[in-house]
């Protein structure tokens, strides 16, 4: 059941989707990963880090 649910999210039984900007071509999967990396990097810069015990 779980595999069916997860499989329904992303249907891989067809050719991949691609984005085109002129001569630049990128798969949607790669584009999503790059966007995720930018989001995580920005979040790492702004989210406060919970520091450990402070002795000094």
């Amino acid at each position: 059941m779980l595999s069916l649910m997860l499989g329904a999210l992303v249907n891989l039984s067809h050719p991949g989707h691609y984005l085109h900007w002129g001569f630049v071509q990128m798969s949607v999967a790669n584009f999503v990963v790059i966007v995720l990396m930018v989001v995580v990097f920005a979040a790492a810069l702004v989210i406060p880090f919970r520091a450990g015990r402070r002795h000094r």
Partner: protein
């Protein structure tokens, strides 16, 4: 480890080295190569510096976490890869457990590159090669390139239509560089051995050297927010609250 002090790695207390401590050579043995090598290693990386209990306060940021996340991913890659080596292609293609470990191996590689790129961005924008850290930076760069080669040979070692497609598409590009004479992507045995032996050893050794260099030079300080940022004389010095150490920026 906690991020609570402003002291750099170089501020760790000196290691107790002296006669009879098991580290210092016996009288008359000072010039032996083993004694000199041991002494050099102890001076470069005393135990308190190799495995410190505390980190500088500026390490308390999520940006500094991506390096260790890359390392954690690498450990999972190694463990899952060893399991795949032990069981073989029919197991990782046909059994449910094999498919699970195959997926673990793939997704740990995805996370390895994900976090390594974020680690690269973070270190690039803080100019992490400052303070005699050029070797640290370059070992990271070479490790990144070798990791790409390792992932590529991994795709070629899958033993499925995907690997056939990738190898036949890649052969012309590899051949055009002249490397095809000794790096034949259509030779499965050669690619498999590159993937499971040579490249993991190289990547692992570089990661080890990278970590030792990080411990030796200390974690690089962030760039100052304002003062001296646009100075032509180079990056500004660390905040006044920080102690000077071998891990300083210049």
């Amino acid at each position: 480890m906690s991020a609570v002090t402003d002291a750099g790695q170089g501020a760790a207390p000196p290691s107790p080295v002296g006669p009879g401590d098991g580290v210092s050579p016996a009288p008359g043995d000072e010039r032996m190569w083993s004694a000199r090598l041991r002494g050099a290693a102890m001076r470069a990386l005393p135990p308190g510096k190799l495995l410190p209990d505390r980190q500088p306060s500026y390490v308390a940021s999520w940006v500094y976490v991506f390096g260790v996340l890359s390392l954690a991913s690498f450990v999972v890659i190694l463990i899952s890869g060893v399991v795949l080596v032990l069981k073989g292609p029919s197991w990782w293609h046909l059994s449910k457990t094999g498919l699970f470990f195959n997926s673990i191996h793939l997704w740990s590689v995805e996370l390895f590159f994900f976090f390594m790129v974020l680690h690269l961005w973070g270190k690039f924008f803080m100019a992490a090669w400052r303070g005699n850290r050029a070797l640290t930076w370059m070992t990271g760069v070479v490790c990144f390139v070798l990791s790409i080669a390792t992932a590529f040979t991994g795709y070629l070692s899958q033993q499925n239509f995907d690997s056939q497609w990738i190898s036949t598409q890649a052969k012309d590009g590899i051949n055009s560089t002249g490397a095809g004479a000794f790096f034949n992507v259509l030779n499965f045995g050669q690619m498999l051995l590159w993937h499971v032996l040579l490249l993991p050893i190289a990547v692992g050794a570089l990661i080890g050297l990278h970590l030792l260099m990080v411990r030796h030079r200390g974690v690089v300080r962030p760039l100052p927010a304002r003062a001296g940022r646009h100075s032509r004389s180079g990056p500004a010095r660390a905040p006044a609250t920080s102690q000077s150490s071998p891990g300083a920026d210049r």
